[in-house]
């Protein structure tokens, strides 16, 4: 009884703060917790007429279908491999840019930083326009250049083999400036004494970069890389859908889990299949986030999420 009294007393004492946060609490419950019912969806044969509750059960049929389809290997491979390439090349280019910025006086940095950062503000839709002007099969800048030099034009939007390179390039275009700024800020926090001492010892700029700057950034690099590995199962939908113009001829290299789920929902109307692929993504994604957080905790406990 006294426990109940204490609970009520606690509740009263914290009532005002609870009330302040209550709209957000309710909101998160509706939009983040209620959708967890969806974990049941892959086990149902969902149809719009019967809705969630009255649609018949399907057992593991949906999973069997997904595993036996060609799609599962394709979308898993594309999601993981492309994200891995983005992580590797994105990190390297961002680091190079940050180290170059660090070589310059402050007054120049602002300008470069702004120019490199602008793609960050652009939506993938506008990016799709820009890259279509380059890659358009009839009027695109690149094909006209190829023709000019007497080469055969390339049907960019129907030849999947080029897209891993194109997508890596575009993802660097959009994200490297942002990465560079994070690493540059990391370098700014470095102790200038290291650099002065090494200068007295006659170290060159390149040696300073290699022996001081990079080791200083190592913790930041490892944290950011590990965190992005935790998200490797989630494709950037806008990049893979808008920039490729959702061209079905490119699916062998550009179809990722996210685009597959979207298409199953909107084009095919196959809710069960979409939900099954989504379930697969949620579960594996969850395991990867937990694993990456576990590693972050080992590396640097301050940076772990929990």
């Amino acid at each position: 009884m006294s426990q109940l009294m204490k609970a009520i007393k606690d509740f009263k004492k914290n009532f005002e703060l609870t009330l302040l946060a209550l709209p957000s609490i309710i909101f998160i419950f509706i939009f983040c917790y209620i959708p967890l019912y969806g974990l049941v969806l892959p086990f149902k044969n969902y149809n719009y007429r019967d809705g969630f509750f009255r649609s018949p059960w399907a057992g593991f049929e949906n999973f069997k279908f997904l595993v036996n389809s060609d799609a599962i290997i394709r979308i898993t491979r594309n999601t993981v491999v492309m994200n891995a390439l983005f992580i590797v090349f994105g990190t390297v280019i961002s680091l190079i840019l940050a180290l170059l910025l660090f070589e310059l006086a402050r007054k120049y940095i602002k300008l470069y930083q702004t120019m490199l950062f602008i793609p960050f503000f652009v939506s993938w839709v506008v990016a799709a326009y820009a890259f279509r002007a380059f890659l358009d099969m009839e009027n695109g800048f690149i094909n006209r250049m190829l023709e000019f030099f007497g080469k055969e034009p390339i049907m960019w939007y129907s030849e999947p083999q080029y897209w891993p390179y194109i997508l890596v390039l575009i993802s660097i275009w959009k994200g490297a400036g942002y990465g560079a700024i994070i690493y540059y800020t990391g370098l700014m926090g470095a102790d200038s004494e290291f650099y002065e001492a090494s200068r007295i010892d006659g170290a060159t700029r390149l040696q300073q970069t290699w022996y001081i700057s990079l080791p200083l950034l190592k913790p930041l690099i490892s944290i950011l890389v590990i965190l992005s590995i935790g998200k490797i199962f989630y494709g950037d939908f806008g990049l893979f859908y808008n920039v490729t113009l959702d061209s079905s001829q490119l699916y062998s290299t550009t179809d990722v889990i996210d685009t597959y789920v979207y298409r199953a929902l909107k084009s095919l109307g196959d809710i069960s299949m979409a939900a099954t692929a989504g379930f697969y993504q949620s579960i594996v994604g969850f395991v990867l986030v937990l694993a990456s957080n576990w590693v972050v905790k080992k590396v640097n406990p301050d940076n772990s999420l929990f």
């Binding site: 939009f31 006086a105 326009y129 358009d136 379930f279």
Partner: protein, 289 residues
């Protein structure tokens, strides 16, 4: 400038310019005559420059204006409501004397680790809440995002604790303390998270793709998707009738580019002015998920 700084300058300048080339190509293509595009392709240096594509679109800009209004309403309402919801819960999470602090923190951050995926949210919003083809579908899903709560929480944690305590001793209510003391000294935090919300709402096409079929609710970005797909809304038919242009010169390819300039251009000029806040938010947020 030291001589050995030349290499970084050259490399950075060329990369920075390369970053801007896609924008230049859109702009120059939007200024081309249709027959020059057929002849030259999209190019950085058009033979002749014309504003015809813009004239044609602005002849009947109703859909464009309408999409601007939709996007502006969504951005303003979403940012204000989102900021309030984010700030309140983030603030409560920083109060060490709040009994349920740990439980509530877990409640918020669990959503970053695990989610039900697209389909259940889609069914919830379109079927259960009946928000399909309403403006709410464009606002509601982004109102509370755990990453922003985390970011805001980081800011609030750096506020001096004594302020709140002394106000409490004076007998002020929690609501009053939050509104009259905490919020006014947290303007940089509100600006940072607010700008992220503005960027998110302004650039969004995802929610429109999922939930919107009605033309009156097309956001700017979604309008651009539609124009990209099938050249609708470009007034090309009208151009033929009223502007008396022969068939070969009706701007469609250039009008498509002009549409993207008109729809995306203005904000692209504004965002870089607030770069400082974005950088601050990103550097704070990057190492935390």
């Amino acid at each position: 400038m030291k001589a050995n700084n030349l290499i970084p300058h050259i490399v950075l300048l060329s990369i920075a310019i390369a970053c801007l080339l896609p924008f230049l190509l859109i702009i120059s293509s939007s200024l081309m005559y249709e027959k020059d595009i057929i002849l030259q392709g999209y190019t950085f240096i058009p033979k002749k420059i014309t504003l015809l594509a813009y004239e044609v679109i602005l002849k009947d800009p109703q859909q464009l204006i309408n999409s601007y209004i939709v996007t502006i309403i969504v951005t303003i309402v979403g940012t204000i409501v989102g900021l309030w919801l984010t700030a309140t819960i983030a603030y409560v999470l920083t109060r060490n004397d709040y009994k349920y602090k740990n439980k509530l923190t877990f409640y918020v951050f669990f959503t970053m680790l695990f989610n039900g995926g697209l389909i259940p949210s889609y069914i919830l919003i379109s079927r259960w809440l009946n928000m399909k083809d309403t403006i709410f579908a464009l606002i509601v899903p982004y109102l509370v995002i755990a990453w922003y709560v985390l970011l805001m929480k980081g800011f609030f944690q750096s506020l001096p604790k004594g302020l709140v305590e002394s106000a409490k001793i004076d007998g002020a209510s929690e609501f009053k303390i939050f509104v009259q003391i905490v919020l006014p000294i947290s303007k940089p935090a509100l600006a940072t998270v607010g700008l992220f919300l503005v960027l998110q709402y302004w650039n969004d096409w995802w929610l429109s793709m999922l939930f919107i079929d009605k033309e009156s609710l097309f956001s700017l970005q979604f309008l651009l998707i539609r124009v990209m797909r099938n050249l609708e809304f470009l007034n090309t038919e009208m151009a033929r009738q009223y502007l008396n242009i022969d068939r070969l010169n009706i701007p469609t390819l250039s009008a498509r580019m002009a549409m993207s300039v008109l729809a995306a251009g203005p904000m692209l000029f504004i965002f870089p002015f607030f770069q400082k806040y974005f950088v601050k938010g990103l550097t704070l947020g990057s190492i935390k998920g």
